[in-house]
Structure formats: structure tokens, C-alpha cells
């Protein structure tokens, strides 16, 4: 494996998240009835950071929840390693809320499909929007993001690695060539 230079460094990530926070507020004309839902693992931390920024801009708390989509995956049967359940934690009623799903990388769209199905089982949101740090293309389902940190066209033998302080000790996005 060969690691290329960073696509995003710490400062870059800081700026990107700040821009995404502003875009979410602008698009929704405020934060009434908005809830952020992070997809575990890294989406959870990105959602928390976005929530902090939005709160400091709007001076209002907003709802935040976490989704573990494992039980809704379409590849459970084919999985070589059994995924560990990390738990869903959404302590509010999603019905009539404007939900902003948050994940680190948008790739095939299958994770988002699973998240949409799970959200629908929890209630009937008014809208569901999608915010991602990186969109790397290669969609296999008709899914797109509403808020994108950075578009990164990739090839099949490349991998995007999002590293976050909370889990990986640093903030960066790397493009990795699989050999």
C-alpha cells in the first residue's frame, strides 16, 4: 500500500466542517425541527462536530442521534467477519423532523440505503438530507448527498481513509493506493 499526500489536513477539515455547518443552516433556513444523525463509527463524530458548530452559530441546541446500520446491511450473509453491533441511540421521535444524516465517505450508497430504511422504521421524518465529508463516486444506487465536504474522483483500486482525532488521534483524509 502506498499513501499519497493528504487530501485534507487538520486545518482543512476544520474549515470544511464549518462550511458544511453553514450550508445546513442556510438550506434549512435555521435549525427549527432539525436533527443530526451520525452513522457509526466516524459519522457519529462528524455529526457531533457539526452540531457544536451549528450550536455556536445559531446559539441554540439541536437534536443529535447515532445510527448503527449493521442490522440493515445487505451483505450480512456474505460477510467474512461478523460485525459487532455498536447500538443505535436516537432519543427523540424522528417523525416530522428534518433529519440530516451524516457520514464520513459516500461510496456505493449502500450504507445510506440501510440508514434510510432504519430511519423509516423509527418513524416518518419530514425530510432526510445527507451530509458527507467525502464523496468518492462509484454509486451503485440512486443516492446523492445534499452537503459535500469534498468531491474526490477515485478509481477502484484506491481507498479513502478518513482519520478523526476521536478515534485515530489526528484529523486528516488520505487517498490510499491498493496494490
Amino acid at each position: 500500500m502506498k499513501t499519497k499526500p493528504k487530501l485534507i489536513d487538520e486545518l482543512g477539515m476544520h474549515r470544511t466542517l464549518t462550511r458544511l455547518a453553514h450550508e445546513i443552516i442556510e438550506h434549512n433556513k435555521g435549525i427549527e425541527s432539525i436533527a443530526l444523525v451520525g452513522i457509526k463509527t466516524r459519522g457519529e463524530f462528524i455529526a457531533k462536530r457539526l452540531a457544536e458548530r451549528i450550536t455556536s452559530i445559531e446559539k441554540k441546541e439541536l437534536l443529535i442521534g447515532m445510527l448503527d446500520i449493521t442490522l440493515y446491511r445487505d451483505d450480512l450473509r456474505a460477510k467474512l467477519k461478523q460485525p459487532i453491533l455498536k447500538g443505535t441511540d436516537i432519543a427523540f421521535d424522528v417523525t416530522d423532523k428534518n433529519i440530516v444524516l451524516v457520514d464520513d465517505v459516500l461510496f456505493t450508497g449502500r450504507t445510506i440505503r440501510a440508514a434510510l430504511d432504519q430511519l423509516m422504521d423509527l418513524g416518518r421524518p419530514k425530510t432526510i438530507q445527507l451530509a458527507v465529508l467525502i464523496d468518492r463516486g462509484h454509486r451503485e444506487l440512486p443516492i446523492r448527498a445534499d452537503f459535500v465536504g469534498k468531491n474526490v474522483p477515485t478509481s477502484d483500486n484506491q481507498e479513502i481513509q478518513v482519520r478523526l482525532k476521536e478515534v485515530d488521534g489526528e484529523d486528516s483524509v488520505l487517498l490510499i493506493e491498493k496494490v
Binding site: 442490522l71 440493515y72 461478523q82 453491533l85 422504521d121 423509527l122
Partner: protein, 306 residues
Amino acid sequence: MPLQSRHLLGLEGVSRDDIQLVLDTATNFREVLERPIKKVPTLQGKTIVNLFFESSTRTRISFELAERRLSADVVNFSVAGSSVAKGETLKDTARNIEAMKIDMVVVRHSSPGAALFLSRVMNANIINAGDGTHEHPTQALLDMYTIREKFGKLEGLNVCIVGDISHSRVALSNIYGMQTMGANVSVCGPTTLIPKDIKKLGVKVYHNIDDAIRDADILNVLRIQLERQDRSFLPSTREYHNYFGITKERLSKSKKPITIMHPGPINRDVEISADVADGEQSVILQQVLNGVAVRMAVLYLLGTGN
């Protein structure tokens, strides 16, 4: 990190890590059971047969709910009206069912070892839902889950199993599982209903219920199996109640509150008085709810592992 076995036949020899994994996984399914739509698509396309050679209400319904809430296809088989009544052997029943392409079998049978036998003649994942007087592992797992939910741990707790230990598969699975998790397990009952060799399993034996209550954090009260009393293990159920029945008065002698568990079905005012069964310290209905979550966890771990 999957379970070490493809089957759940009993808790004897099951590692602490595996029990921990089941209990942790069950926490996630408890959350699913609180949702407006209590169903996830996880076992879509899997077919599960509930093979019940012995009558059961609670366990069968609990398994069936767990299976349906994981979106599995469920087939129920009970002896009445089946080919077993026509003399078919267990092996032939198993082979015939397997020929219909099923993935998992939940089995209850009056013979100890029936689940183990099936695991040898079938390719499906086998879950023991009670084999004679041997084991009933999912009951013990849900008992442990319920204790952990209330106390936050199992280690160091004093759990006393009260009643008919000789005929109880719940007792045996409880002893194996809870000892593995570090609880101190004891039993209490009349000498006729306690196996002679039980001390070899490292459990303390009480014959006086007041002594047992004095030492216990949790009483797991077993049903007096009226259907098995024809061989005069007890003079009468009234006498049993007088000597071993769990009553408010007896519990009031304890300095600390004692958590009351019961695997059901309850014989009110035989092994437990009605006010205790319905009282504040009783977690009997939590056990029932947790049973569905724990069984979902077992089905998930066996059904999606390799």
C-alpha cells in the same frame, strides 16, 4: 468476533467472552424492541424451524417473536398431529426437515442430549430450547441479562436457585453460566429435590430457606413441577409452601432488598406468594421481555456467523 460454536447446545464449557458477547449484543436488540416498528431485516431469507417435542408456551412464543423480529421465515412443528405421533425417529424427522433447506433449528425435547444429537446429524445451526433435565441455555442467558441490567454486573453476586433442582434444566444452565461469569451460585430445596452430587459443581446447598435468604442478593425461584410430583418427592404442595415458599414475611427478615426471579410459569402460593411475585423486588416480567432480546442476539450471532 463471532461465537466459538455454530450451535447453542448448553452453557457448560461456554467461555466468558462468548457469554459476554451474547449479553452485549442483546442490549442492542432491547433498543430495537423499544422502537415503533420492532423489526429489523437482519435474517431475511433465513428459515428457522421451531421443533417442539414438549409443550411450551413462553419459550416457543419468545423464540418465534425473536425470529420474526429479525425477519426470518418461521415454521412451527409440534408433536401433536406430526409424523412423530406415527412413530418417526428423531433422526428421520431431522433429516426430512433439513431436506427442505432450513438454516436453523430451535429444539425442545424431553431427552437430555437431543440438541447435541441434532447438531451431529444436521448441517443447520441448532439452538437448545430445553432438553429434558439437562440444559436450557437461553433461559440462563436471559436470567444473566436481567441481573446484569439491574446490578450492572454478575461478578460477586450471590444467586440462590430455590426449588426442584433435580428436575430443572434451568438450574443447571444457570449454574454453569453464572459461575463462568463470576457469580456465587447456591441452591435451596428439600433433600428429595436436590441431586446428591450437586456440590461437585461448586454450589453451596441450603435446606433452610431462611438461611438462603440471609445470604442472597437474588433468588431465582423455580416452579414446582406438579406434573412430576407423582413419585412423592413432596408430601404436599402446601407443606412445600410452608417450608420453602417465598413470602413477604420471610423476605422481610433480610436486611437488604432481594431481587426475585422466576422462569415461569408461576404456581402462585406454592413456590412463591402472589404478593412477592407481583411485588417491587420482582423482575419476572422484565425476564420475559429480555428473553426476546437475548434470543434475538443468539439467533443473530449464530445466523450471521460462519
